[in-house]
């Protein structure tokens, strides 16, 4: 009997269980709410008092007087950035001046690059207003634009030196559908780098002319690029191993499609498009697209072994350690021109240019692309848009941005005319050829795909071209598959809507 009684007492009834669970949930919710309430709103900073210390002759007099309040005293702005070096200027250099000048408390949130898109979109799509200023890639504009505040009205009242931002960035990064949604903070383009010392060597010139029938020079077409790459691929020290390759590409699955796109845009000139701008049919499997892919494959075959595993670091190292004669890459190497090494060359020298193009009907068509790069925009749901714009304008101003783009620690590249022509940049000794090539690239910019689903369109292209390069499928099969998948994605998003947004992204008038 005692045993049975003990067994009954240890059994928990259903009613007790439910009561206990509900109690736990309510207690948990109250605790969470109390915790959140304790942290919000943040305490307002004390009113500003300006203290001036005036030294008069032999005595020091300290005068204190109430100062003019900063325009956004008590406001708080949250800026979200790619974590790492991009955060440093905001957090360590300028949060103090921003507080002094604007009265704004700046909160800096750093997110790893792999999560930036998802986390920003989560906040934007839920409209919480948690982020005021956002750093984002131009390729994301199609997905972000409906959540961003147009800046036109602000710019009319308080010009951010808009005309000083290079035209290519203004047109292809910051503007969408005729409105301005961002300001460039990192002006990435793709430059052609080459070994100037090899190209200018008289013996190399003579040998190249004898073999190919034209002069060795910076390649103007992709066919010339492949010829030069073939020419320079050699064993220089006679050990039976190739130690110089003519070119290298960033061939790793993930974003190698950028290097295909450089060729596609040239081969599809004079009016390159990824989609027919009248009906949104993909043009990615056209004869021009096929020719571009075959040209790219030839470049890959002339690249060092393992090129299909090259990401940024591997390609950078391959060129900077002297084992590659040419490559197309972001502007970073140019600022580190004096780090170029080659154990088998006396004086390795870096040269700069625009990626090659294609000649059609006697006309040379060359383009560069806005791959990468970073923009700053204001969230529509921001609770302090005026303060956010003031901070944005300050940070993007010619004076502040000049400091950022000339400091290698920030990782930011030139994007204003004033950057290229500033005495500070001249004094840094950066080669004029680099600056000229950089500006020429901006002038020839072609935008990334900036419509909703952009990441998916791009990844399909990357996967299928990667499969072709790896020898899994033919070029035609790869591009036909891309076209078919792109049609499916377009239908999922709505063909009419995608067509309208594609035309807006490309600066075309509505149909």
């Amino acid at each position: 009997m005692a045993k049975e009684k003990g067994a009954e007492e240890s059994k928990v009834s259903r009613r007790d269980f439910v009561k206990g669970t509900v109690t736990g949930l309510v207690v948990g919710a109250i605790a969470t709410g109390a915790g959140a309430a304790a942290m919000w709103p943040p305490a307002a900073p004390p009113a500003g008092v300006v203290t001036q210390t005036v030294t008069q002759a032999a005595q020091t007099v300290t005068v204190s007087a109430p100062g003019k309040p900063a325009p956004f005293e008590g406001k708080s702005i949250t800026v979200v950035l790619h974590s790492g070096h991009f955060e440093v200027p905001w957090r360590d250099w300028y949060s103090g001046p921003i507080k002094e000048i604007f009265g704004v408390d700046l909160k800096v949130v750093g997110i790893p690059i792999g999560e930036l898109f998802e986390k920003e979109l989560l906040e934007l799509s839920t409209g919480t207003g948690a982020y005021d200023l956002l750093m984002f890639s131009p390729a994301w504009m199609g997905d972000y634009v409906k959540y961003l505040l147009p800046l036109d009205d602000y710019m009319l009242k308080d010009d951010p030196a808009w005309g000083d931002i290079h035209g290519g960035f203004r047109e292809w990064e910051n503007t969408y559908g005729g409105k301005v949604y961002s300001l460039t903070m990192d002006g990435d383009v793709i430059l052609l780098y080459y070994r100037k010392d090899l190209f200018e060597d008289p013996k190399e010139k003579a040998d190249f002319k004898a073999k190919y029938g034209y002069n060795l020079a910076l390649p103007q077409t992709w066919d010339q690029y492949n010829d030069v790459a073939e020419f320079f691929k050699r064993d220089r020290n006679g050990d039976g191993q190739t130690d110089l390759w003519g070119c290298a590409e960033q061939g790793k699955r993930g974003r190698q499609f950028y290097w295909y796109m450089l060729r596609y845009i040239a081969y599809s000139s004079p009016d390159p498009h990824l989609f027919d701008p009248t009906n949104m049919k993909p043009l990615i499997n056209s004869p021009n697209a096929l020719a571009a892919l075959e040209s790219y494959k030839r470049s890959i075959d002339l690249s060092p072994p393992g090129v299909l595993g090259f990401e940024w670091d591997e390609l950078f190292s391959a060129f900077m350690n002297g084992s590659v004669a040419m490559m197309c890459h972001w502007p970073d190497e140019g600022k580190r021109y004096n780090e170029l090494k080659d154990p088998l060359a006396k004086t390795p020298q870096m040269g700069f240019g625009v990626p090659p193009g294609v000649i059609k009907d006697g006309v040379l068509y060359k383009r560069s692309m806005t791959f990468g790069g970073w923009l700053l925009g204001i969230a529509k749901a921001s609770k302090n848009p005026d303060a956010a714009y003031a901070v944005l304008r300050y940070f993007e101003s010619p004076e502040v941005s000049l400091r950022l783009v000339t400091d290698p620690a920030t990782g930011q590249d030139f994007f204003r005319y004033s950057h290229f022509y500033s005495p500070k940049v001249k004094a840094m000794g950066i080669p004029k050829e680099y600056l000229d090539a950089f500006e020429e690239n901006i002038r020839l910019l072609y935008p990334e795909l900036r419509i909703p689903g952009g990441a998916q369109y791009n990844d399909i292209l990357d996967l299928q071209t990667s499969r072709f390069l790896a020898g899994e499928i033919s070029a035609k099969e790869a591009l036909d598959t891309v076209a078919k998948e792109w049609e499916r994605i377009t239908d999922e998003h709505g063909r009419d809507s995608q067509l309208k947004l594609y035309r807006e992204a490309m600066g075309l008038p509505s149909l």
Binding site: T21, L122, D143, G254, G306, Q456, L463, S466, A470, H493
Partner: protein
């Protein structure tokens, strides 16, 4: 309700609340969105599609290819890890000089975070500076093996990473199991004249079956979910040579933001792994 019962309920309630919020609710919600075309970025595209996502998965050649890659990876990796782990565990049964130092050193790989292991191997596999290629070159073979960039060796590269990292886990579980076995049946078999192999095959291994089952189940579950090393070393490439089911589901859900379809893929993977582990458990626990 007496005090003891009340206390018992109060102690259990926080865990139940946590489970509800973190496990049960997300699971129910993910089942719901797997029946929709939910797009995280473009929610205006969301509508009920019922079983369309599941039907689509079975006509999606890329998903089917990823399942094939997963089967190869899981089958080969778990088998090799088991055999190698067992061999090393048997070695550690006998005393030898340096055993106390060797054992913790052998466990090091599984203590390193998978992402770090991935970056380490990415450097090791870099064609021109690869120490493996250098050693192969010293033996007179071709030293330019493109480990991660050739379709024929990319999967092998991922397998080597997984085997290097997780064989110590197998070794540790099997060693613990072997050491805990009763000695009497083994000694009796030895007295009866059984050879070393016969004792292993007919006495030790049958007693070890439950431990083997647990080790295989845990590793199979883990290998099925492999992600970090693929993300860092090959990103599913070259082409789609190393794209596994879990990696593809990640791309669909977190790169393309098609969370409805991604959820459906995840549930299909869940069903597959449940069937596989059930079969393993039944076979080894019977």
């Amino acid at each position: 309700m007496n005090g003891d019962r009340r206390l018992a309920i109060l102690l259990v309630v926080p865990t139940i609340a946590l489970l509800l919020f973190i496990v049960i609710f997300p699971m129910i919600y993910s089942i719901y969105i797997s029946a929709t075309s939910f797009n995280f970025v473009h929610r205006e595209l969301t509508k009920f599609v019922y079983a369309d996502n599941f039907v689509r998965a079975f006509t999606d050649m890329r998903f089917l290819s990823s399942l094939r890659n997963t089967a190869v990876l899981v089958g080969v990796a778990v088998t090799v890890e088991f055999l190698l782990g067992l061999a090393i565990a048997l070695l550690f049964l006998e005393p030898f000089k340096g055993k106390t130092i060797a054992l913790p050193l052998l466990l090091l790989p599984m203590m390193i975070t998978p992402v770090t292991v991935g970056y380490m191997f990415r450097l090791i596999y870099e064609v021109r500076t690869s120490p493996i290629n250098y050693l192969i070159g010293l033996l007179g073979f071709n030293r330019n093996i493109e480990w991660t960039t050739s379709s024929s060796t990319a999967m092998l590269s991922i397998l080597l990473v997984d085997i290097w990292e997780w064989t110590p886990f197998m070794m540790m579980v099997l060693l613990a199991g072997i050491v805990a076995l009763p000695r009497e049946p083994i000694e009796a078999a030895e007295v009866d004249g059984a050879s070393g192999w016969q004792r292993m095959r007919w006495v030790t291994f049958p007693m070890l079956k439950p431990i083997v089952a647990i080790a295989l189940l845990i590793r199979t579950l883990d290998a099925f979910k492999i992600f970090d090393s693929i993300f860092v070393v090959t990103f599913g490439g070259p082409g789609s040579a190393t794209e596994t089911g879990s990696f593809y589901a990640y791309l669909v859900g977190f790169r393309y933001f098609q969370m409805g379809y991604g959820s459906a893929l995840s549930y299909i993977l869940l069903i597959i792994i449940t069937i596989v582990t059930t079969l393993i458990a039944r076979r080894l626990f019977e």
